[in-house]
Symmetry: C2
């Protein structure tokens, strides 16, 4: 059986949970509290030298890191990763957008607001993180004006990757009020078969 | 013919140039100076709402953004992107590592040192960028102790993605002296067929 090392509160880990549920793929989940340093122990670093969750362990013990690489692996040959060469590259385009232009701002703002003390010096980063987060949302809003999902072939792992931190952007003080297309897309994702919300 | 919108001095753009040369694929290059704001004009934003190069235009006018998505598209069905499901996912794992844990530190340190004035306030970011850059190099160094290239099947677009900013890390004050495996791997990349160095 597949094993996921992950922290349920992490959007990057929730991506993997959501996809596995939607694929109806059995798995076991090993909770690893990265906020408490559990991804930095010698035991965990032996599994993933980069010290991050999620981490996927296959039946034969092989390991795969990086949330979006795990999504592509698991969705391979399913409708959630298109077979067409250009469509598949577009899925990757949005997944790299997510990891470079979206997650480092929207997820980090949520982390600072939700996990660090109210007087923590990293709160000084919030104005810049929110500005960049809104820039990412504006790109999404424009794209979704013409598209039900991020890639024309339909709901894909690109949507899962972007849903993970967009749906909870408000926790980092990044409101979605000005992004009606994004909010409608979030609802379309929630209506896909097998959708599960993130654990509270 | 393929068209690349890119800035030759950008490692993300050099990735695409290097791959196209190694694939012996004809292309035209349109130089776009992102450091001078040319990716933020209305004309360019109409091509890529995220305002970044590289951007690939296909024969039929379709556009694809994000350097690593472009690499995967171009290398599809070539030996530089393995067909095996897990190997391909490992290529993606290292490409997402590059965009999340490597480029935001090593490339940004290079940008601050090479493009901004010596008294620019962003120089205050350098100690943290260098620390994180060294952390990424340490992960690479450990992995390359057992591997000639990043993925077991051989030289791939994961190596191209990681080569782009590793080879010039010193420009950002991140020396490679303590990473003999990384330096040997850089030399192996330089020895692959069709390799071209980055334009000075």
């Amino acid at each position: 059986m597949l094993t996921v090392y992950g922290m349920k509160a992490s959007g990057n880990c929730y991506k993997v949970q959501l996809l596995l549920e939607q694929l109806r793929q059995p798995y076991q989940w090993i909770e690893v509290n990265s906020a408490a340093g559990e991804t930095r122990t010698p035991e965990f670093l032996a599994l993933n030298a980069n010290g991050r969750v999620p981490l996927l362990r296959l039946d034969d013990g092989q390991l795969l890191a990086e949330s979006n690489a795990i999504l592509c692996y698991l969705a391979d040959a399913s409708p959630l990763l298109p077979a067409d060469r250009l469509e598949r590259a577009r899925v990757l385009q949005w997944m790299f957008f997510e990891q470079y232009s979206h997650e480092p701002y929207i997820a980090v703002a949520r982390f600072i607001c939700g996990w660090l003390p109210a007087d923590h010096p990293r709160r000084d980063e919030l104005p810049r993180l929110r500005e960049r987060g809104h820039a990412a949302l504006a790109v999404m809003e424009r794209h979704l004006a013409d598209s039900a999902f991020f890639v024309a072939s339909g709901y894909s792992v690109a949507d899962i990757a972007l849903f993970a931190y967009t749906h909870c952007a408000g926790m980092g003080g990044i409101a979605l009020d000005d992004y009606p297309n994004v909010r409608a897309w979030l609802d379309r994702v929630r209506a896909t078969p097998g959708f599960v919300p993130q654990s509270p």
